[in-house]
Symmetry: C2
Subunit: 163 residues, 2 copies
Amino acid sequence: MANVALFETVLNSLPPDAHHRRAWLALLTCFSRIERILMQHIAQQYNSSLPRYDILTALALHEKSLTMGELATMLEVTKGNITGVVRRLSHDGLVSKVTLKEDRRIQSVSITAEGRMLWVAMHDDYDRIISRLLSGQSDDQVKSLTRALKQTLKAVDKIAAAL
Amino acid sequence: MANVALFETVLNSLPPDAHHRRAWLALLTCFSRIERILMQHIAQQYNSSLPRYDILTALALHEKSLTMGELATMLEVTKGNITGVVRRLSHDGLVSKVTLKEDRRIQSVSITAEGRMLWVAMHDDYDRIISRLLSGQSDDQVKSLTRALKQTLKAVDKIAAAL
DNA sequence: GGTGTTTAGTTTATACTTAAACCGATGTCT
DNA sequence: AGACATCGGTTTAAGTATAAACTAAACACC
């Protein structure tokens, strides 16, 4: 009897003028459903995870190595977080981490050949899943979703900056 | 030099026809930015967290108590997850957990008076923040975002069910 | 050249999350 | 009644995340 997603419950409890809340709820739900599918796929097929994939992506697309701080900035997570994930990736031989001679505070992280091979495979798969999940909609629908999200992102960043 | 969010980097690396990937990227970024703001606010103001808020919300909106399994279903997380968060909430006196007499396997969880008071305050604040963050857009823009997200959710669920 | 200050990253404590193994209680079936 | 399956939750192991405290290197500057 109570086995309905919270999404529905909250949605029904919302007054008709709660547009903002409804949008956020839809955003949250949509994101979580898709993320879970990606997560489970990456886990099963590659014995890996989204955070690992993200770091490999950053390194793969940048070519030249990145510092821990740059990774943290790009992924929008704390530096402490990066320390752990990079340690495990490095342990698995997917990235390499070198202390810079010129400034011994700085760690220079780059993707290894093995890491790049894994990344290419994962990236391909990741893309295929996204395409499949969104394939129920027309290109126009998808484009309009993207447009709305980018607008929202811009608005949010503006307000958030003024905090 | 590399201090740009991964969002931008990936976006620039995407071929013009990668509509799906672009939509997902926008969704991911938009979600994360908003979630982080909510998370930090709830942490600072209430020394609490979004998972805790979610459980309180489920209980507050349902009135009659819920089982651990129902909570897991509603929040779309594992039962093991619920065990931990509920334990801490219960320890803090915000929810109460009782073993059912009729079926000693079942835990009946409900929100306490104290829990409800906290929830009301948090809920209010949460709503205010969402409204504020999305206030840069017209009602029509917000509604169209919601519409696009609901469509997407429906499409995603359909495809995901056929896995 | 020593004395602070800033900077880059790590460590610590705590919480959240999953998947999988597990435990007890209940239901089923003969 | 006894054997076995199922069901509801908990536990475990590992990873991910934050904030805050910390370490060590580089800088600044008198």
